[in-house]
């Protein structure tokens, strides 16, 4: 920092490699594996890819929730709870009304209310944000456990909508263009959040509030409002992830069915360097590794299945430690703003 004149200079090419090297390397490897597998067995490959998308959807949504919060400097470790409560309320509303769409909106609303609660605790009450998130996780686990009745099932579930001829494209067609609505919505949300965060006024203010809230304040930006809105919208997205679990993937509710996805989503968010596209890539990679290991367990390989089960996690560790490099965390992350 002190000697600005002797900073090592980086050429644009080096910068490009530094930023995109990992992504390119990992993508190429994955594509190579997929094509090789497709030649060996087309059906299995398509199943693996479809499973990749399925596995990644709640993770991407969770990560979007997390990064909206953290970009405005509110750490959200309550994603798990927001997801779980969204899943549960969505499920109940569907059981009562028989309508899937009302149920989805109920889940989104529930997530948003949980977001509001987190925002109130961390922005207004200036509570420790880790504790605030934990409160939400415990609350969700308690409420859903208490009110859950065995034997209820949803009335139908979200069905895949093939997008005409696109769905017939080999390899990627079935995985990308033959999905139920929430999965499509996820694709759209990734790009939408990316656009909002990096190309709009709101996004600029959000990032400023996450880095240097006082600077934003002195320019007339309402720090509290920016944080509230981002955390609430994030909560809504986590609620949607919950709806995906009960109304699209499984079709019923089980206790603690989120099963740590809210926390994996946090890892995915960091892995993706707090960017929506990065998080999507990370979630896809994780989903792919998971789908692969399920598939490998059926294959006739002389390796104990526990080792194959480790694959996704080993992959995550290798990629995280070896390739991703340093992530810039928003400078004010987790620090409540005091107006003096």
């Amino acid at each position: 920092m002190e000697n600005t004149n002797t900073l090592p200079t980086t050429t644009p090419q080096q910068l490009f490699l530094k930023q995109w090297g990992t992504t390119i390397f990992v993508s190429l490897t994955v594509i190579a594996i997929v094509i090789w597998q497709y030649i060996l067995n087309a059906n299995v490959t398509e199943a693996v890819l479809a499973s990749t998308i399925r596995q990644s959807t709640p993770l991407v949504l969770g990560a979007l929730c997390g990064l909206l919060g953290e970009r405005s400097a509110v750490i959200n470790i309550g994603i798990e709870g927001q997801m779980l409560l969204g899943a549960f309320v969505g499920f109940l509303v569907n059981v009562w009304t028989g309508n899937l769409w009302i149920a989805v909106f109920a889940a989104i609303f529930t997530g948003a209310v949980m977001g509001l609660l987190l925002a109130y605790m961390s922005v207004t009450l200036k509570m420790d944000q880790i504790i605030g998130g934990t409160v939400i996780n415990i609350l969700a686990l308690g409420l859903t456990g208490y009110f859950y009745q065995v034997g209820l099932t949803t009335k139908g579930k979200m069905l895949p909508i093939p997008l005409g001829p696109l769905a017939d494209i080999p390899i990627i067609g079935p995985a990308l263009f033959n999905n139920p609505p929430i999965t499509y919505a996820t694709f759209v949300l990734v790009f939408l959040v990316h656009y909002v965060l990096f190309h709009t006024k709101w996004g600029l203010r959000t990032r400023a509030v996450g880095e240097h809230p006082r600077a934003a304040d002195t320019l007339g930006v309402n720090v509290f409002k920016v944080r509230y809105v981002n955390v609430i919208v994030g909560g809504a997205i986590a609620g949607l992830a919950g709806a995906f679990l009960t109304l699209e993937a499984v079709g019923s509710f089980e206790r603690a069915m989120t099963n740590g996805r809210g926390f994996v989503a946090l890892a995915v968010m960091i892995f993706g360097k707090f960017t929506p596209l990065g998080a999507w890539g990370a979630a896809l990679l994780f989903g792919f590794a998971n789908a692969m290991q399920t598939q490998l367990q059926f294959a006739d390989i002389q390796v104990p299945h526990q080792f194959i089960g480790m694959l996704p996690y080993i992959l995550t560790i290798i990629v995280l430690s070896g390739f991703v490099g340093r992530t810039h965390i928003p400078a004010a992350d987790g620090v409540p703003y005091e107006k003096e």
Partner: protein, 514 residues
Amino acid sequence: MSEKTTTKENLALEVRHVTKRFPGVIANDDVSFTLKKGEIHALLGENGAGKSTLMNVVYGLYAQDEGEFLIDNEVVEINGPNDAINYGIGMVHQHFMLVPVFTVTENMILGSEITKGTSLDLARAKKEILEISEAYGLEVDPDALIENLPVGVQQRVEILKALYRKANILVLDEPTAVLTPQEAEDLFDVMRDLTKKGVSIIFITHKLKEILNVADRVTVMRRGKVVGHAKPSETDAQGLATMMVGRDVLLEVAKTPAKPTEVVLEVNHLKIKDERDVEVVKDISFEVRAGEILGIAGIQGNGQTELIEAITGLRGADSGEVHLSGEIIPFEKPRYLVEHGMGHVPEDRHKHGLVLPYDLADNIVLNTYYQKPFAGKMMIRDDQAVLKNATELIKRFDVRAPSPHVAASTLSGGNQQKVIVAREFSHPLKVLIANQPTRGLDVGSIEYIHKEIINMRDEGVGVLVISAELDEILSLADRIAIMFRGEIVTIIDAKSATREQLGLWMAGASPEMS
């Protein structure tokens, strides 16, 4: 210095009877002053006199308890920075309000974004920024990241940020605190130029020279009150200092000729590489004798920080050695140094000088807490002894604090520095290293600390003073070493030194050339 004619009606801003109270303190007590159009009006006062508070009230960051503001002779309500911006007030804060990971453009438009549909229109913003930067002669690269820019340029971005919001009243809060002398000169040129273009400037400072250099009028504040107005052309540094402090102060400390005796600190061929493997200290040798002050002058970033860190045990060296009273010191063993008679007033008092959340009593025993009498039987600390020690030293070193139990973070900079001085000067010393001992302090505190340093010298301590302020070096040192790019250019007797010559050497001229 300027040929402006101002009439009574020609006021850009008038502050009338503003009072601002914080719990337990009156930060501004019935403060009034006027800012004429196109003038540079200095607001002078010691740290804690209420200058910054007043400006934060004007900028809408705090609400005043009493009083009103007039802009262009009309009473206005300022309820937040947005109002202030709308009335054409721009503020450059002492600690820059810039997002380090944003580009210049992003920082400039934040809060006043230009959009095309829903998207930010960065291309147009960039164009507008370049136009303004050209109009005011303040060059910036709109695409540069703030964190990669030198401090002087960051400040330029801050000024442009205000001008971008069409500010015609510019508040500069201690703008030179972070600048090198050269950068400060550039800033003054910019300020004079801005007034010619119709901007009125409020210049907050506690440096008298700067006021005499650049201001048209001065308002002096002390303990929250306005104690006087003056015109720099009709007063001098001594007069301003007296007004600011409320008593006569010595701007230059009286001292007798040094009586150097044996060598107490000897640095031999020291070489240091920094974290990036760049050699920042290149083969430096010098010695300090008991009873003299050696001053190291140099623009910041020429290796002084690393050199002092090595001598004071905060970092290792790649080769060379340091002798303390004839014995080679081990590197990176600060406790050894404390026990062998080295005192260190560090460059960054917040980072290396104090544990800010700790109270004064604890801060004063930071380097001796494990010794008797502070550590009693069974390693249990003796609170009574710690407290007694603190009470004595707080009194002896004139630290203005309500009690030894307040956290160091609650004190003003000058009093924090006195706490460090109290700790470092109160154990038996052979060598004293004072790095930027008065940075950011007001004249009263500077006078005090300079006097203490000279006292140490007269008691036979060898003193090494490092400062980026030439005035400080000239008023303290008996011999002066000039450091440039990791080397000592030359060491001269202070009596034969001139400011101009030192300035040239600090900028890299070699002594053979002169």
